[in-house]
């Protein structure tokens, strides 16, 4: 027979949870300071390590070092860029979106939020973001989602994010078992009261950008394919620019490191792992 916990124990645990929830939700105004200005601040040429223009339909991966910034920008038109990442020193540690949304009490990632690994550590800080319209739930396209969506246009032959990730993972010495759930940047997906997904095209425009600061050494993979919920019946992803920018150490009052109690504890886990 199962022995249940006492009412006092349950009440104490509930009170503790409600306090965590209150602190987490009360932090929202600081964690979400608003959208970054457009156009993006210019970057001194001598701070640019590399600039890659990923053509529509294609993939790219790069190593990044802690504190470097990846600026991802739609300067050639609309597109969705799907992103995955692994800890460079131990690729069994990878992007974990369920933890990212759960510990920050929101599916809405925007300037001020951080992105977690499966090991309770921070992989990225969203240090600038001009649109705040990204998708953590649905992820990238697949051969079958393309086949359904572009039935009259040779859909199965069009490049898709799942296959792109298999390719880039394999070239990094990994395989399909290592591909985590993907973050889709510039994918304006919203959820209604019944849980149904909606695409809100007005939330993303040409010129939008996101600056992601790497908070550990990583391998980062990108796929530039139309999001499966993008209603555009034409397969027409524009090139996306990824600029890798030299590191500067974050200040003591860095927004993302101090925005919420959860971010603070995540960075404590990073610091401990780096000892």
């Amino acid at each position: 027979m199962h022995i249940r916990r006492s009412h006092d124990e349950i009440a104490a645990n509930r009170a503790r949870y409600e306090e965590h929830q209150r602190q987490g939700l009360n932090a929202t105004p600081k964690a979400l300071p608003g959208k970054s200005d457009k156009p993006a601040a210019s970057i001194a040429e001598d701070r640019i390590i590399h600039r890659e223009i990923i053509p529509g339909g294609w993939y790219w991966s790069t190593r990044v070092k802690a504190n470097e910034v990846l600026r991802i920008s739609l300067d050639q038109g609309l597109s969705t860029l799907s992103l995955i990442a692994w800890n460079a020193a131990d690729t069994t540690e990878r992007l974990n979106l369920p933890d990212t949304v759960k510990v920050q009490w929101t599916t809405g990632l925007a300037k001020g939020r951080v992105i977690f690994s499966d090991m309770g550590r921070v992989m990225f800080s969203i240090v600038e973001d001009s649109c705040g319209a990204h998708d953590v739930l649905v992820g990238g396209s697949t051969a079958s989602s393309n086949a359904k969506k572009y039935a009259g246009a040779n859909g199965p032959a069009l490049r898709n994010t799942r296959d792109n990730f298999v390719l880039l993972a394999t070239k990094a010495g990994l395989d399909k078992r290592d591909i985590p759930a993907a973050l889709a940047l510039f994918a304006p997906v919203r959820v209604d009261a019944d849980g149904k997904f909606h695409w809100k095209p007005e939330l993303v425009q040409q010129g939008d950008y996101v600056d992601l600061r790497a908070d550990m050494d990583m391998i980062v993979g990108f796929s530039n394919c139309p999001h499966p919920l993008d209603p555009n019946p034409v397969y027409a992803p524009n090139p996306v620019t990824v600029t890798r920018i030299e590191a500067s150490a974050p200040s003591a009052d860095d927004l993302c490191r101090t925005a919420t109690p959860e971010a603070v504890r995540g960075f404590e886990n990073n610091a401990f792992a780096a000892l």
């Binding site: 949870y17 078992r177 993907a182 849980g195």
Partner: protein
Amino acid sequence: MTQFVQTSSARTLTNAVQDHYIPAEAPFSTVVKKGQILRIEDSYGQQAIDTLFYNAQDFSERYSSQDTMREQGAAYISTGTKIISSEGRVMAVMTADTCGRHDTSAGACSCESNTVRFGHYTKYLHACRDNFVLEVSKHGMSKRDVVPNINFFMNVPIEPSGEMTIVDGISAPGDYVELKAEMDLLLVISNCPQINNPCNGFDPTPVRVLVWEGEDA
């Protein structure tokens, strides 16, 4: 919203081909053959049942929460939901649901995420990912094979603003879901031990798993 589908009277406890009792907080796995009907019962009510599926012939094909949500066009799963694999194939179809609210966005608890969410002092508490890793290790898999899962009976409403919190489950004692296997499946369960949030009313309880032969076999 609950869509109750009457379970078949041809299935009784005496003609089940598998009947398992999973203690509170424990891991579990079994193989469910194509065409069989799987029932997962929340015996005491308000218990989150963290669940993963693998193709029993090729474990590299496994449950995909993102593909499943995309296929539904919605974040929650219920009767009629197709459980989609990482290869885009239907692994199972949900054929009955007496509860109506199940999550596949919030993933499983882990010692590591608990430290972030609830404080470092919660690190040394039994957690779902440890259950999953122990259970999949019996089948030659490891942490890299533990992917975002389904949380049957876990209530995680997502607001139009994006805000999400885990709130009290709405399942009553004896509530169940049924799924028809569309391929031979390795079913892996962590009967969630979390006591820091209300996913199981701060009081983990046992659950039951039953399997029947399909009626159209």
